[in-house]
Amino acid sequence: MLQGIAFYVLAAVTVIGGLLVVTARNPVHSVLWLILTFFSAAGLFVLLGAEFLAMLLVVVYVGAVAVLFLFVVMMLDVDFVRLREGFAKYLPLAVIVAGVLLAEMVMISLVVAQGGAAAASTGPATPNPDATNVEALGRVLYTDYVYIFQAAGIVLLIAMIGAIVLTLRHKPNVKRQDVGRQVGRDRNKAMEIKSVPTGTGVKPEDLV
């Protein structure tokens, strides 16, 4: 009973939050609604018994991704009012696409509900009551899916190499702080006493 109420509340908040993400006028508000959506989705994960995934969602998506979005939204000089100009014009097309997607999702849900999809496979593995979430996930990731897991790691590595290749520029004339050299300086290296003849003054080129 309590679980049922919690599910419907969280699900409703998720859907409404998602709707407000796309309809909010102010992009900062959009990101804030997105954070609310992530939080309620995390709640849904808890209801499913997937506490670890729920925590991941909060830490990774709310803590990192959404905050990054906020930075981007606030720092980029994008005129969001102009971006939205075509909203009404493209709305019919968007409604059609969304309708098709919704119909497909309903179709799949129906098939799954009738047990059609589960017939081919053994269905979802029954959770081991002794293992915690993290343990169960880790076991699968490092045994059955180790190949995919490592390959996904290389995908991320390529993204990093790509970012460096496309943006890093070695500038030879940049002055960088070198603590070792700073500490290693003593009075003999840093100063020089020059005797200046009286009355002639000092020219700038003598100082270099």
Partner: protein
């Protein structure tokens, strides 16, 4: 534990490339930019070693069926790895001459090859997707590798945005297939699809085909191709035109004939439609092009149509024809791009067809090589392109698609116009007042002449072992 050791033995080529790529990354990071030549050389050796591992390695399945090493994968991977090695050789000298030599270029190609290897031997939907992402992400970066060049940046961005869209389509299709069959493994999907055909499954399959068609630049998913071919650095385009296409074609053959053998009636219609549109777009789109690289983009669209027609036949002969066609096509493409890389005037590469005017007097051997390659892609017997098309049309006719084959022939005739125009400009157009061509770099010249020599006459000898090998690959897949 023995399982893991066996799995590692099976997947040794990809593992070698991935680990070798990481080691080379360290070499490059510590030795700095001047190590580009060293890293390139080592990368080529690494790819050759991986090819040797592929050819000599054991066959079987590993990682719960996610990785399949069978004759089809062996054939595909041998072609893919060797093509990547050639692209590194072509790129190394070119990058140095353009003053953009960086050690990341060979490393990205090595890691992309690991991804293409994954594609060629994927046994389930996740390894299919990860393989595609692994190689595409590296290719997006390579397209924009010349980052101070506006057109290269545009090419990279376009490729990236449209690639992300196609990945979305592909993932949506994969999730539908998983939703309807309850399994990611091709075997389970095949078993389930044979027992319970459903419209939803076909829906997912169509999305999957759309995503894959984007990767091979088949029309109507070809929008990115001309711009990327025109903007990206030429050696990178040489890579785009070869290895990833072979990987994606092998993947399409494996997915459709492995996981959806029972739905042949449905997917062959989709493939034939894609083939027909590709013929039309490739043949007619190429007619108005002035830039040679753009022209080659349209030529590749048309040629992918022929290769897809082989798969659409749905027979072993069709897969064999596709493999043969792609291998011969890869050699021709490398010849074309090597010639483009070897021709420049005053350090400026030759880009338009009209720039070729008067080449007969300056560079007779290169002119002859380009003539042979043009005639070969055109499909003139007895050059190599003819044998590829012969095999594909033969397979299509045998499967009862002779009407589509006839359409392909018509497209060949139309496309013949632009290949003949290249030949005409080179041999017969008077040379305008212009700077003489620069000395051709050795590696590009050698590869160009080698590919032309393969197109004719070496192909006759080559076919005697290439054809049985392709036949063995087409028959024996899924083994293990």
């Amino acid at each position: 534990m023995p399982d893991l050791i066996q799995a590692l033995q099976l997947s040794a080529p990809e593992a070698t490339l991935a680990v070798g790529g990481l080691v080379l990354l360290m070499v490059g990071a510590f030795a700095g930019e001047k190590s580009a030549r060293l890293v390139s050389t080592l990368s080529v050796l690494l790819l050759v070693a991986a090819t040797a591992l592929v050819v000599t390695g054991p066959l079987g399945r590993a990682f719960n069926g996610a990785y399949v090493a069978d004759p089809l994968a062996v054939f595909g991977k041998a072609v893919i790895f060797l093509s990547s090695a050639v692209a590194i050789v072509l790129g190394d000298g070119w990058m140095k001459r353009q003053r953009i030599a960086r050690f990341e270029y060979p490393i990205l190609i090595v890691l992309a090859s690991a991804g293409m290897g994954m594609m060629a031997s994927s046994g389930d939907l996740i390894s299919l997707y990860i393989g595609i992402e692994l190689h595409s992400l590296a290719l997006y970066v390579l397209a924009a590798f010349h980052r101070d060049d506006l057109r290269a940046s545009e090419a990279g961005l376009k490729y990236f945005v449209l690639g992300a869209l196609s990945s979305g389509l592909l993932l949506y299709g994969a999730s539908l297939i998983y939703g309807f069959t309850g399994s990611m493994r091709f075997e389970d999907i095949a078993a389930y699809a044979a027992a319970n055909p459903s419209t939803g499954l076909i829906f997912g399959l169509v999305f999957l085909i759309c995503g894959l068609a984007f990767k091979v630049s088949a029309a109507p998913f070809h929008m990115w191709t001309p711009d990327v071919y025109e903007g990206a650095p030429t050696p990178v385009v040489a890579l785009f035109a070869t290895a990833p296409k072979v990987a994606a074609m092998v993947l399409i053959a494996r997915t459709l004939e492995g996981a959806f053998a029972g739905s042949h009636d449905q997917w062959s219609q989709v493939l034939i439609l894609i083939s027909l549109i590709s013929f039309a777009v490739g043949a007619f789109g190429g007619l108005v092009q002035k830039d040679i690289q753009r022209l080659l983009a349209y030529s590749s669209i048309a040629n992918i149509g022929y290769a897809l027609l082989g798969i659409a036949a749905g027979t072993t002969l069709g897969v064999q024809a596709m493999l043969l066609f792609m291998t011969l096509y890869v050699v021709d493409q490398f010849g074309f791009f090597a010639i483009l890389l070897s021709l420049s005037r005053n350090g400026r590469p030759i880009r338009t067809i009209q720039d070729l005017a008067g080449l007969r007097k300056e560079r007779p051997v290169t002119t002859l090589a380009l003539t042979v390659l043009s005639l070969s892609v055109l499909g003139m017997p007895p050059l190599s392109g003819f044998w590829g098309k012969w095999a594909v049309f033969g397979a299509a006719a045998e499967a009862g698609y002779w009407m589509v084959g006839a359409a392909g022939l018509v497209a060949s005739v139309v496309a013949g116009f632009y290949y003949l125009r290249i030949i005409k400009v080179m041999w017969f157009d008077p040379a305008p007042e212009q700077a003489p061509t620069d000395r051709a770099p050795l590696e590009a010249k050698t590869i160009a002449w080698g590919c032309a020599a393969f197109s004719f006459p070496l192909v006759i000898v080559g076919l005697t072992w290439l054809e049985p090998w392709a036949a063995a690959a087409a028959v024996g897949y899924g083994v293990g």
